[in-house]
């Protein structure tokens, strides 16, 4: 805003490096101060908030898991009442799926994707700010309700009729359903931003075959979100309507159907697993190149595997419903499709192994997590093949075998790569490195603790222990293993505590990281750590998939962006040829107001259908404020 001797029309090629940086800082910065912090649209600031919030929810979900394990350590324990326990396991699942796993992957992408594709901000940055506030509001709704003893108690997939008006008393199921609305909104918003950022804002020269694999994974994931979320939106809205205004979508006595809920939920719910796993696979592919000192083997095969997984993900939801009495022939089809998804998963594993085989492994913490990931994820994938078989599944469905299976897939398959990714990218985010020595301890404790905690659950499931039981009777043969599992979980908890300690310590007192501490090949390492508000002083031009390895001395750059206003390069979708200069919005407080008014409307609608009518008025007002033209240079171009 201030005229710092730079004409707003000046282009970046007309300035020396130092004055260019000063001018860009002036244009892109988030000034200090409370309201400025709330108004920022910088993807890095929002991304950091997103990541931090998601890890807070991870810690809270972990506390719930610990309570579950204390309760189950002995038969007929009465530490938790049935009512409290049912809230706790529902909260654990809903929190981990909707408030941690999906958002943390999108959060990493919000921070990293613009840097990895070499642009200055994410597409639709105000929508990005909005999505964070909405996510935060949804999380607070769930946890405040839980603190008030109003937490949902119907399981994270809230089957009707248990969650319906007749059996789900009070507002607990409504809170679950409305929390879904919040997380849907934020996930859809981020997905749209990512698709546009990846398609149109890549650095010149970054053609489709040069996109970092994490970015590819986020592209496929974003499309999965865009296609899967409408199903859950229909489901949760119908449930709210059944509960609030007495529709009968799911009431068999009035012509509704209880299985309809399961079809709609799992049509979303199964892709959801890949919405969590694919970003993790992308992280593995990206980090693996750095730690084997060679390009990942089979780039094309890996991209195709991501896409194939994304497509197949929509064809196997019925394997969650094998014991509901569907026709056997139809079930066999879903056995085949569920097994088939092991093929793209296998291709990825084989490509990673080939990379490790041919490369020069450097055993830093992120690589340890990748190795741990391969060991555990293959187990999770194989037990996935087991539950894809209808007869096998009739014995293990809804037992601890399935609990073990999905923790192997989600923790082994997604959280391990994520922790590796934090060790890998946190130095970029904070500018300080994490401790390699503590990192080894963190990996060791989490890897051993995880396997000792979750492997015995396979056996418990085969021994007949159903999931979601708040206790079990002493005459069943489960108490020994349950006690073992509960004791083992302390190792896992110790590992996570050490991880949080290391992350916080390093952010405050870690050693300076420098721009590229790992000698990594992708663009986010071409700028300082932490990156400046404008990401890159000059927009890089790439001519390979590993630009910092291919042009180690100095990266070629593009010129012609004005420095006095927020501008980005828009490139073509396939070849990433420069097409236009596009304005990027300035900071605005309106996304926050819009999020607040939306929150008020959504929460009040739990209590009265009229809230949708009256509550939409403030939403419209705040949207008008959001889009009101202010005559800034960005508005004009």
């Amino acid at each position: 805003m201030t005229d710092n001797a730079v004409n707003p029309e000046t282009c970046d090629d007309e300035l020396e490096d130092s004055s260019l940086k000063a001018a860009l800082t002036e244009t892109w910065k988030t000034p200090s101060g409370f309201w400025n912090a709330l108004s920022t649209v910088d993807h890095k600031i929002i991304g950091k908030r997103y990541i931090f919030t998601a890890f807070v929810f991870l810690a809270l979900g972990g506390v719930l898991a610990a309570l579950i394990r204390i309760q189950l350590a002995a038969p007929e324990a009465r530490l938790l009442s049935a009512d409290r326990y049912n809230q706790i396991f529902t909260m654990h699942g809903a929190n981990m799926m909707f408030l941690f796993a999906v958002p943390v992957m999108e959060a990493m992408a919000v921070y990293l994707v613009p840097l990895m594709v070499g642009t200055r901000n994410i597409a639709f940055p105000r929508l990005n700010a909005f999505s964070y506030w909405i996510y935060l509001a949804g999380g607070l709704l769930l946890w405040i309700a839980f603190a008030l003893d109003m937490g949902p108690d119907v399981g994270w997939f809230a089957y009707v009729p248990l969650s319906g008006p007749q059996y789900g008393a009070g507002k607990r199921a409504d809170i679950w359903a409305q929390m879904i609305t919040f997380t849907e909104l934020s996930a859809l918003a981020v997905s749209v931003e990512l698709v546009v950022t990846i398609f149109k804002q890549r650095a010149p020269g970054m053609s489709l075959d040069r996109i970092p694999l994490f970015v590819w994974a986020m592209l496929v994931t974003s499309f999965l979100v865009i296609m899967a979320m409408p199903a859950i939106m229909v489901a949760s809205t119908s449930l709210i309507l059944d509960r609030l205004v007495g529709t009968h979508f799911f009431n068999p006595a009035e012509g509704g159907d209880v299985l309809l809920w399961q079809h709609l939920f799992w049509f979303f719910g199964h892709p959801e697993v890949y919405i969590i796993f694919l970003p993790a696979a992308g992280m593995v592919s990206t980090m693996l190149a750095t730690f084997t000192r060679r390009p990942v083997f089979g780039y094309l095969a890996l991209v195709m595997a991501l896409i194939a997984t994304g497509i197949l993900a929509f064809g196997l939801w019925v394997h969650h419903m094998f014991v509901t009495g569907l026709p056997r022939l139809g079930e066999s089809f879903f056995t085949a499709s569920s097994m088939a998804i092991a093929i793209p998963a296998g291709i990825q594993i084989f490509c990673w192994l080939a990379t490790l085989w041919d490369g020069k492994p450097i055993f830093k913490t992120p690589l340890l997590f990748i190795i741990g990931f391969i060991i555990t994820f293959v187990i999770g994938g194989l037990t996935g093949v087991m539950v894809a078989s209808v007869p096998f599944d009739t014995q293990v469905h809804d037992t601890y075998f399935v609990v073990a299976h999905f923790h192997y897939v989600l923790v082994g398959g997604a959280v391990f790569p994520l922790l590796g990714a934090i060790y890998y990218w946190l130095p970029k985010i904070t500018g300080r490195t994490m401790s390699e020595r503590l990192g080894r301890w963190v990996f060791g404790l989490i890897f051993i603790g995880f396997n000792l905690t979750f492997f015995p659950m396979h056996i418990l499931g085969l021994e007949g222990m159903p999931r979601r039981v708040y206790t079990y009777q002493p005459d069943l043969a489960w108490h020994g293993l349950n006690l073992f599992v509960s004791l083992s979980s302390t190792i896992l908890i110790a590992g996570f505590l050490l991880f949080f300690f290391d992350a916080i310590r390093s952010a405050r007192r870690g050693l300076p990281a420098g721009p590229n501490p790992w000698d990594a090949p992708t663009l986010e390492w071409a700028t300082t750590s932490p990156p400046p508000s404008y990401n890159f002083s000059r927009i890089p031009v790439v001519n390979g998939a590993y630009p910092l390895w291919e042009q180690p001395e100095v990266l070629s750059v593009a010129a012609g962006l004005r420095v006095g206003r927020r501008e980005l390069v828009v490139t073509s979708m396939a070849a990433a040829e420069p097409e236009a200069r596009e304005a990027s919005p300035r900071n605005s407080i309106w996304p926050l107001w819009t999020a607040l008014t939306t929150t008020v409307m959504l929460i009040s609608s739990i209590f009265s259908p009229w809230a949708v009518v009256w509550g939409s008025i403030p939403v419209v007002v705040s949207l008008i404020g959001w889009f009101w033209p202010k005559g800034t240079p960005e508005d004009e171009s």
């Binding site: 049935a82 009512d83 049912n86 089957y159 009729p161 248990l162 059996y167 068999p252 006595a253 209880v258 299985l259 000192r293 060679r294 390009p295 083997f297 089979g298 014991v323 509901t324 009495g325 066999s332 085949a336 088939a340 092991a342 093929i343 296998g346 291709i347 594993i349 084989f350 490509c351 192994l353 080939a354 490790l356 085989w357 041919d358 020069k360 492994p361 190795i371 391969i374 060991i375 293959v378 194989l382 087991m386 894809a388 078989s389 007869p391 096998f392 009739t394 014995q395 293990v396 809804d398 037992t399 085969l462 021994e463 007949g464 999931r467 079990y472 009777q473 043969a477 390895w549 291919e550």
Partner: protein
């Protein structure tokens, strides 16, 4: 099981041996379908263990190879092609293994559904949190109702007709067969044949609310003769009170709220919201597997059901000490 002694697979041995314990275990199979599913489980688990070990060997080999030279940016194209061949071969093997599993799974499914004609039909209704059991006979007067304990003749095909009376439940006796959901508005069927006499425990497997954890039942597989005499006894009305205390209990039961929810055939008690109590004293457990049946446990349950199974649908009916004593005597008497 041969695999139990396979030294190469100690983990698996542990897994199978521990699985041999318990009366509610998929690995302790005594029903026709549980036995064939167990065979499928062992086949797939063994094959998957081999696959996992092969992948681990490849991983260890890759990590131990100890390449020191960094040959980027010059990738050896012949070498890359060689690796492509290996990855393609591994993918083909994966596809074949997956295809094998699919076929094995399909044939097991087909074998399970070709069970033959049924000898007996039992209708099971799932309610929060107990099981309503009706033996259906073509002659209506030979049909009868009981709860939470199912007797079947060994070696016969028994057809279970399953439907949820309130929310979704799941009928699961791991030692006899895989589970099948009980869904309101959508009747399901499950055929079970016990191959050995025994007492098998089952439990609701679909989360159904507050007391999901305490919704168990027993399936008792008897010889045909023993089954017939049990069924004949169940068809009878309740036995008359044998002593003065039980007679007082009978009167108190009918005078209090008990009769509005429970049926005791042969008396005026004909409520259907709760389990049929005509022969409750003959059942091994009360309250859906919560306690073994005894006069003491009956008295404890009647005195305070909400502490023993919080949230269940049986209210605490205020009783004097004498009433409680006599009703529990009467219940225990209902053999």
């Amino acid at each position: 099981v041969k695999a139990c002694y396979n030294r190469a697979l100690p983990l698996l041995a542990f897994f199978l041996l521990t699985g041999c314990a318990g009366w509610q275990s998929a690995l302790d199979a005594h029903g026709a379908s549980a036995i064939s599913i167990k065979q499928l489980i062992i086949l797939i688990v063994l094959a998957c263990s081999v696959v996992w070990m092969l992948v681990m060997m490849a991983l260890i080999a890759a990590l131990r190879r100890g390449r020191t030279e960094q040959h980027w940016p010059k990738l050896d194209s012949r070498h890359e092609r060689g690796m492509s061949g290996i990855v393609i071969a591994a993918t083909v093997v994966t596809t074949v293994v997956i295809g094998g599993f699919t076929v094995a799974s399909f044939f097991t499914t087909r074998a399970l559904s070709a069970a033959g004609p049924d000898d007996l039909t039992i209708r099971v209704g799932g309610s929060q949190w107990w099981w309503n059991v009706e033996y259906v006979d073509p002659q209506p007067e030979r049909s009868f109702r009981t709860a939470n304990e199912i007797h079947i003749p060994v070696g016969r095909n028994v057809r279970f007709q399953l439907e949820g009376d309130d929310v979704i439940h799941s009928f699961w006796v791991p030692s006899l067969a895989g589970k099948q959901d009980l869904i309101p508005g959508r009747p399901n069927e499950l055929s079970i044949r016990a191959e050995h006499e025994g007492v098998y425990r089952g439990q609701c497997a679909e989360f159904c609310g507050l007391q999901h954890a305490h919704m168990a039942f027993l399936v008792i597989a008897d010889s045909q003769d023993a089954f017939n005499s049990w069924a004949d006894a169940q068809r009878q009305s309740a036995v008359a009170a044998s002593d003065a205390e039980a007679a007082a209990g009978h009167d108190a039961f009918l005078a209090k709220a008990c009769a509005s929810c429970h049926t005791i055939r042969g008396t005026s008690a004909s409520g259907t919201t709760g389990p049929d109590l005509t022969h409750v004293g003959s059942r091994k457990y009360i309250a859906a597997g919560l306690f073994e049946t005894s006069r003491g446990s009956l008295a404890a349950w009647i005195a305070d059901p909400q502490t023993l199974k919080p949230g269940n649908n049986m209210p605490m009916v205020p009783l004097t000490a004498d009433e409680l004593r006599s009703i529990s005597a009467y219940m225990a008497n209902l053999k």
